[in-house]
């Protein structure tokens, strides 16, 4: 049995707020396997800090803080001269075909950098006053270490009504419609920070056979053993 999947460490004395205590525990378990090289941060764990740095940069690149509409508006006002000139002023979500420069996708693990995405030269100057003009705007392509990301917004009545990811770092050409509450992230990035030290596992309903080799099975077995030993002591 894969009992090594499960680490039945005793719980620390809870002195922090609930979630913070759990975060610290997770960080500690990771620190046990990752040498810490960080400084100037409250996190004792290099990987932890790195993940958050990546998350921040990704957020900048992919416009993660989409809920902050003001910030998004500012961003697109900034790129307005690129986007508006290449699109029509239709209010509905017209897909803007933008070729992905292969060079952008191949940029090797550089820090996020924004590059102009439109292949159409920005000709006419556009309105740079406060409100966004109605229409559909393709944002600049931002490249993170996973590849290019491009977001398109639709503005109606001066407000952003729709956000569509035209490109994702995984090369998914099919537009994924997301609203201002959705946040795309990369699973593989988060995966590197995952710990197996969980109480239970949510997943697709396993067959009886696959249950036997599942992480949940290992957890169940470990707990059953714990219960038995405490009963006999």
């Amino acid at each position: 049995m894969d009992t090594d999947l499960h680490s039945p460490s005793p719980p620390p004395t809870p002195i922090d707020p609930v979630v913070q205590a759990r975060l610290d525990r997770l960080a500690a378990s990771r620190a046990a396997t990752t040498p810490s090289t960080t400084s100037g941060t409250t996190s004792p764990n290099g990987r932890h800090r790195k993940r958050h740095a990546a998350k921040r940069s990704r957020a900048a690149a992919v416009l993660m803080s989409l809920t902050a509409t003001a910030g998004l508006s500012a961003y697109f006002q900034h790129t307005d001269s690129v986007g508006a000139s290449s699109t029509t002023n239709s209010v509905t979500g017209v897909a803007v075909a933008v070729a992905t420069p292969p060079a952008a996708a191949a940029a090797p693990n550089a820090s996020p950098s924004a590059t102009a995405a439109s292949t159409t030269p920005a000709a006419a100057s556009t309105n740079t006053t406060s409100a966004l003009a109605d229409g559909t705007y393709a944002g600049a392509t931002a490249t993170n270490k996973y590849g290019p990301v491009q977001v398109q917004i639709t503005v109606a009545g001066g407000k952003i009504t729709d956000v569509v990811a035209l490109q994702t770092p995984t090369g998914d050409r099919k537009s994924i419609s997301i609203n201002d509450r959705a946040t795309p992230t990369l699973v593989s990035e988060a995966l590197s920070a995952q710990s197996a030290n969980v109480d239970t596992v949510s997943g697709a309903t396993y067959t009886t056979d696959s249950y036997k080799i599942s992480l949940q099975s290992a957890i169940d077995l470990a707990h059953a053993t714990t219960v038995q030993s405490s009963a006999t002591s």
Binding site: T168, A182, Q194, S202, Q228
Partner: protein
């Protein structure tokens, strides 16, 4: 190994001690019941009995189960208990709420009918099981029914339950970890265990655009059904969920390693 684990669980049925962990194989899956309170032994007995009652009543694999007779149009008055009526009403409610993305009345069932409420029955029955434990005084427990989870209270004093969301391609890795306390449900729909078995009611064809959909919210009855519905809807399901059920969060993993989530998923995620 399987039998050994079951025996270990059975032992805990008859002994009263601080916390118990029982695995029951029922409804074609393993149901893990993790109780962190001291309880009279009949509390767990009652839950186990309830789960087997649900299996016998609502299994579409049993040709003459009450639910099979209902689906096949040969139900007697005895079959249509108030409880069965409740399940049928739940199916209707969810079909209308999801615009047909979750529709128990068109999906082919193993019994040959086109009524399969299994997608409702699992979550509903686990919520009922949680109610049974609460009635016996349990306040800290977690029931995991084949990957769908209803939890209460805390895992340890002051610490929430930590729930891993399985990575679609890596059975022993979590794609995300969420923390839950007091009352929370986590349900995942995916095709990696049983193949493309989720049917789009509008086409009758299996759906496979997404690798997995996880829904987090207060009630497993609905979280489970929403997970199926959002799986059928695809990424647009995020908009549907946000609009109609803002107290539920969604975490979608696409076939291209990209995760999409509603913004309130961040309230639950710890890793």
């Amino acid at each position: 190994m399987n039998a050994q684990m079951t025996n270990a669980g059975r032992d805990s049925l008859t002994q009263s001690r601080r916390g118990r962990h029982h695995v029951e194989f029922v409804m074609g899956m393993a149901v893990s019941i993790d109780i962190r309170d001291d309880l009279p032994s009949d509390a767990l007995d009652e839950v186990v009995q309830w789960l087997h009652h649900v299996d016998a009543t609502y299994s579409t694999y049993i040709p003459d189960s009450p639910i099979s007779r209902v689906g096949l149009g040969i139900a007697s008055a005895e079959d249509m208990t108030r409880e069965v009526g409740e399940v049928v009403a739940l199916c209707e409610e969810l079909r209308d709420d999801t615009g047909g993305a979750f529709d128990a009345f068109v999906v082919p069932a193993p019994n040959g009918s086109h009524f399969d409420p299994s997608g409702v029955v699992k979550g509903w029955s686990i919520e009922r099981a949680a109610t049974i434990l609460e009635r016996h005084g349990a306040t800290n427990f977690c029931i995991n029914a084949g990957g769908d989870i209803a939890l209460r209270g805390h895992a340890r004093p002051g610490e929430p339950w930590l729930v891993g969301i399985r990575h679609p391609d890596l059975p022993d890795r979590s794609a995300a970890v969420v923390a839950g306390a007091d009352r929370l449900a986590i349900a995942t729909s995916a095709t990696y265990e049983r193949g493309a078995h989720i049917i789009d009611p509008s086409t009758g064809e299996p759906t496979a655009d997404l690798a997995s959909v996880t829904i987090i919210g207060p009630d497993l009855t609905y979280a489970d059904a929403y997970a199926t519905a959002v799986f059928v809807m695809g990424p647009d399901g995020l908009n549907w969920l946000t609009r109609r059920h803002p107290d539920y969060a969604a975490f979608l993993i696409t076939r291209r390693d990209t995760a999409l989530s509603t913004s309130n998923f961040a309230d639950h995620r710890v890793s």
